[in-house]
Symmetry: C2
Subunit: 143 residues, 2 copies
């Protein structure tokens, strides 16, 4: 497995690869982005938390079976330390006109610098009421 | 202000101080625990995100005005790097018998090691359906 994994030099690259893997429903690519750590956590919108690779993999497999996932991460706010990056984004989900527009999804993605490059340790999403508040675009912060 | 602030040597200490400040409705103590960083993020259950000290302070002030907050952090899962710690917990909220028991709150707390000790940069809570799944107690992980 190891030789198939990309090594990402920044949290931004790892996060871009994360949403790219989602868009392609590529379960192996998605799971390769997580740290090799039993304590990794994934929380889907409105759902209990999942801990560890097996539980997280099963959840994404079930999501991909239901259809394609189209998420665009926007409005990034980030805090960094030498070996970690905390990204908070709004997940812009592609909707049909009949979908509810009175909620939006916010996500905290935490990355840690490991010997295998930057990896994700936490993906925590939640449902917020109302449309996402508009923020001025800052191209330097977006990828 | 600076001389009033405690310096916490671990993320565990900072997190214990966080929930202690909540229990005491001590807004100044609570806000002193956050990193001096414009990009700090706080997401209350079901709410949009708040970015920066002013917005976060106002939100807690409003919560404290409505009454006491009694939260016990349990079932910790943690990922660490040299300069950061990601804690995921279940927030056990003291309820009256009439409260709804069919939801629980999960929280991601991210701490970063700064020159002023360990500080919080993200507090992201969300509502999950059902009661919190029971996990075996691990006293070594609890504080």
């Amino acid at each position: 497995m190891a030789r198939k994994k990309h090594l990402y030099n920044t949290a931004q690259q790892a996060e871009a690869a994360f949403y790219d893997a989602l868009a392609r429903s590529d379960l192996d690519a998605l799971m390769a982005l997580w740290a090799e750590d039993d304590e990794i956590v994934c929380i889907h919108p409105g759902a209990p938390r999942l801990v560890g690779h097996d539980a997280i993999r099963q959840s994404w497999a079930a999501i991909f079976e239901r259809g394609n996932v189209h998420i665009r991460p926007v409005q990034l706010h980030a805090s960094h330390s030498l070996t970690s990056a905390v990204h908070n984004i709004v997940e812009e989900v592609q909707r049909t006109p009949r979908d509810r527009q009175d909620i939006h999804i916010v996500a905290t993605n935490v990355f840690i610098k490991t010997a295998q490059g930057w990896r994700i340790v936490t993906h925590h999403t939640s449902i917020a009421s109302g449309q996402a508040p508009a923020e001025p675009l800052n191209p330097a912060l977006l990828h």
